[in-house]
Symmetry: C2
Subunit: 634 residues, 2 copies
């Protein structure tokens, strides 16, 4: 069912523009910093297996995955930007990992040196299969980056061992991971090696999930524990068999890793029922449980989905990893159905929640992504401070950011033998095979700050194929032209993609103009937290108000109904070149309140102006209030 | 400094009206239920000291206090409403308690049968002195109710023992309770017995608090623990000596019990500095950290104060006990200064947060008192469900409600030898000594539903004294008359009290008319959670919207600016006789949202009507949405 394969990361050179800058920073600043952190915190050296019982700082159950994600990110990086020093670092770590593999193929630091007797004894909580999955992904990326199979072979040995441990055989475990991830990794490994057993195991993990009698409970009893439910089985998406699940439940990262894996299995096996289950989850998330910035998992209690339309702003969790996981899921779905409902969400997360996860200088990270912040009170709620951190004890987000950025080229296009689909507007260059010919597709754009995207199509010889370009859902007015001739677009539009089929000549140019007015966006009335409020959006970019530009008391600003909101580029500082939104508003007067907390209402408002900046830039100019959803005159 | 002594509970017969009904329910339904719960859960039988190590359900460290509060409440009840069966129950429990006293005077179930070796080893966390305090209060109430000293004597022995353990002597502990309460109890015991050592110990506890080196840390080290701070010393109001504290910090119940104790010590010792510290705390709480319903302690993490103006509605904690503790504090302050800033807050809590703590039928209780509720999401936040419960594992609130209700008569008046002060409007009758004569003061009123309060003053012989009546802060227009002759009130008003000095004759009548229009109340602009919203208040009663009357989507209702809000009495059901507020509003249209979560704003509103009911009645007619703060047209 996977009709549309991605043009892979190594084929797409991201160049200038918005992403050129950010990916450069990712490569030159973030990746080295993350290596440093993994080194300093002992995550890398842990693979030497020299931790001894009684020593401090035992290797943690998910350390392996942090290192794996760093390798994966670094491999993507050298794919597009060869770097001998970085490759040496990768090789060093890969060697350490390889040497940590046990005789039987097993490879997990914690369960080799800290609790060897507990191997596979607690799939529910212990992240063994999760770590294995990340290592597999890293190994596939390593093969693609270097062409060398040594890491892949190590991970195949591990995978083969896992295949022997899990299954329906009498001596096998009918278990599955508490933290999903290995499902999608096994499909990657299958695609890299052609070994069917990996795909079969992925399918096994997907299908066993949530069956009765419940594996997690049985396993808990075997450990001598009462099968108390850590947040209930829904926390692990194991409350029902996945095909019977109606809504996206539990830990949001786990959920979307699972759904991505389900989509992968469906894609490879043609399992329609599984695809239908994926669509149901997609619909539930994107129609009822997703923040405007593309974040998901609104509660920090369990980092999880809660109920439909429950999307608090100050208390938002919206873990960076969860938004990334949603992009993984979307990316799988768009490979089966070229529908902008998937790529629009990919874009929503990529320009809002995800880039907010890292500071503009690439050195600090957000784990949770609030949609409103009023400094001070978080100290009493257990929330993380509204300031990006250098690192985390649970450091999943930073290397996840690094790997999605480093592989971003792989999200731009999908193709068949005779068609190519443009999902993202990224200044880049790629050369692909279409209708048997080499075709170079170049995008020139300052998107999302500018409204224009220029495509140049250069086949080696004139050749007929279809180029389909996404028209974003946010865009109400656009113009497309081929070599200066306007495209009559209505008829050519299908599921949000503009289909251009013709014989393409070297140097053909397409211009896409996407009108970017500043829009007020309202949310579904059932999102009680946004009642009476609108968000500002320009193109795919969601804006916010910061105290820095608007003073304190952001909740007391009310947008005037008739105010034209204008986005004009800023000239200096970190906002240089970025459209800043300005407009008229009212501010509640706050005089003569001394000694009074409540009084008969005589609220008055004064005219004022507001300045909004892109959401993802917030908290880069010091600490202060921030809101995404702004009061509006009724 | 205590110039004004309360007319005590046993002197004031609450009769009909609002409180007559509620106190009857408290007496006939709540008190028996709470006895039953204490019995069923083993709290009462625990005093038999027959729990053995290894048995299940060890007596909990604060069980003693639950039973003590029930005794105290029951004693108040028989003071005003003699009841032989209830007295028998009290005597039974008092006997059990007395028999649980140890040779040396010690009296605590947990630390006698469960962890005897740990007596006084962890004042920070273990509630020993807190339990002692509640037992002392119960013993004083028992003396007042029965005239018998047996329980008082038991508690004096315990108090004497505590006096021997704590102090500055070389072999004494310089500690103080992690959960305050004993301070105010010791002053009660001092007043009941005249024994100076109790007052001195109360003062000692107050003054030792927060000194360096820090007792809690020293004590933790002695237990072999790292003095990790459970929420920091401010959680226990022990971050600084109390006289140096600037703001109300930490656990709100503990805080206000402490402040009440400080005020008591100041009152008895004339310690001005301590009084100034009390005033500072009072100011900080009531000007910056109190909900409109009189609840305090906005965060459920630590049941505590957070920062100024941080008063979330859905996430409000506002423990019932904390509002009660605030009334205790207010009641102490008004005994030193007849200023309505204290009695207004007493009234605010008594008509809003506190009565919300118990269902209209007297059988179920709220621990936390939300100011907005949208069913469903609490399951994912660790909040308690928005439904009153039969009982709690930590059952402090139900017996606290019972004792404040049963003793409510004691909050109505204070007096000197020649003056009497009316703080609350409660249908009641009292006979006091004024200027050497017996004077009966009767209040007839349906307050807070009706605007009129009738006083009848009947001295045995004509006598001159001052009667000062509080004019509530919420009231902008009132009329007072004596025997039908209007009182020119401006000149007679001092700190919110109307001073009437004259020679009173038998049958003199005062009529006070307090105009109760329905008011929109706004909150300080720094309370970000209420931006753009108003609350409705009629008299002292804060109103709310419930789904039952207004449908779902309460956050999408917006009050029209020009709407006249009318309070009219309801004719049937649980709301019978209660003014219901109605007015015009707009409701956001919620059509054609299928499949859409965010869209360009085209918000439209439809005219509608709203119905508001008194806040304290919420959640008595099934589960549903509720808001106190309502959107208003800008």
């Amino acid at each position: 069912m996977r009709k549309f394969k991605p043009v892979t990361t190594n084929q797409v050179q991201v160049q200038g523009g918005f992403w050129g800058e950010r990916l450069g920073l990712n490569r030159c600043v973030t990746l080295p910093i993350e290596y440093q952190q993994c080194k300093m915190t002992g995550r890398i050296d842990a693979f030497k297996l020299d931790w001894k019982p009684g020593s401090p700082d035992p290797p943690h159950i998910f350390w392996d995955s942090d290192v794996a994600k760093w390798i994966e990110a670094a491999c993507y990086s050298i794919t597009t930007h060869p770097d001998a020093r970085l490759e040496k670092k990768i090789d060093y770590v890969v060697k350490l990992i390889s040497e940590a593999q046990q005789e039987d193929g097993y490879l997990n630091v914690h369960f080799t040196v800290v609790e060897p007797e507990k191997r596979w004894s607690n799939l529910r909580d212990q992240h063994e299969l999760y770590c294995a999955g990340h290592l597999m992904e890293a190994a596939v990326a390593h093969l693609e980056a270097t062409g060398r199979r040594e890491f892949l072979d190590v991970m195949c040995r591990y995978a083969d061992y896992i295949v022997s441990v899990f299954g329906k055989g009498r001596k096998q475990k009918r278990g599955y991971p508490g933290h999903e991830e290995i499902e999608l990794a096994l499909v990657k490994l299958y695609r890299a090696t052609g070994r069917r057993s990996y795909l079969d195991l992925a399918k096994f993990f997907v299908d066993e999930r949530g069956r009765s009698p419940h594996y997690f409970d049985r396993e808990a009893r075997e450990r001598g524990e009462d099968p108390v439910r850590f947040g209930g089985h829904d926390y692990f998406q194991a409350h029902l068999p996945v095909r019977e699940q109606e809504t996206a439940e539990g830990h949001a990262v786990r959920a979307c890793y699972l759904y991505a894996g389900m989509a992968d299995v469906a894609a490879e096996t043609g399992d329609r029922e599984l695809l239908v289950a994926c669509r149901r989850m997609w619909k539930n998330i994107t129609e009822k449980r997703m923040y405007i910035h593309g974040g998901i998992g609104s509660s920090r209690f369990g980092e999880r989905f809660t109920i439909d339309y429950d999307l608090p702003n100050e208390e938002a969790y919206a873990e960076t990893c969860a938004a990334i996981a949603l992009v993984f899921f979307a990316h799988r779905m768009v490979q089966m159905d070229t529908d902008r409902q998937y790529s629009d969400v990919m874009e929503r997360a990529l320009y809002n929640c995800i880039p907010a996860g890292v500071s503009l200088d690439g050195t600090r990270f957000f784990y949770d992504n609030y949609l409103a912040s009023f400094p001070g009170s978080h100290r009493f709620t257990g929330q993380k401070p509204p300031v990006r951190q250098e690192w985390f004890g649970c450091a999943c987000c930073p290397p996840n950011l690094a790997r999605i950025f480093a592989s971003l080229g792989g999200y731009v296009y999908t193709q068949t033998t005779r068609s190519i689909f443009v999902h993202l507007f990224i200044d880049s260059r790629t050369t692909v095979q279409l209708a048997g010919q080499q075709v170079t597709v170049t995008q020139k754009t300052e998107y999302p700050w500018d409204e224009d995207v220029q495509f140049e199509i250069s086949p080696s010889v004139p050749v007929t194929f279809t180029l389909a370009i996404r028209v974003p859902g946010w865009c109400e007015a656009y113009l497309a032209s081929v070599n200066g001739r306007p495209v009559k677009s209505k008829a050519r539009l299908r599921k949000g993609y503009l289909y251009l089929r013709r014989q393409w000549q070297k140097g053909d140019r397409i211009r896409l103009h996407l009108t970017m007015t500043v829009k007020r966006v309202e949310s579904h009335p059932s999102i009680r937290q946004n009642a009476g409020r609108v968000a500002l959006q320009r193109g795919p970019v969601v804006y916010c108000l910061e105290e820095k530009d608007n003073g304190k008391g952001l909740n007391d600003l009310v947008l005037a109904k008739d105010s034209v909101l204008v986005g004009k580029k800023h000239s200096s500082g970190v906002l240089s070149g970025i459209p800043i939104v300005r407009g008229k508003a009212k501010r509640r007067e706050s005089v003569s309140w001394k000694g009074t907390l409540y009084r008969p209402s005589r609220t008055r408002y004064q005219a004022c102006k507001i300045t909004a900046i892109p959401y993802f830039i917030w908290a880069n100019r010091g600490e202060g209030e921030m809101v995404v959803w702004i009061g509006e005159v009724v």
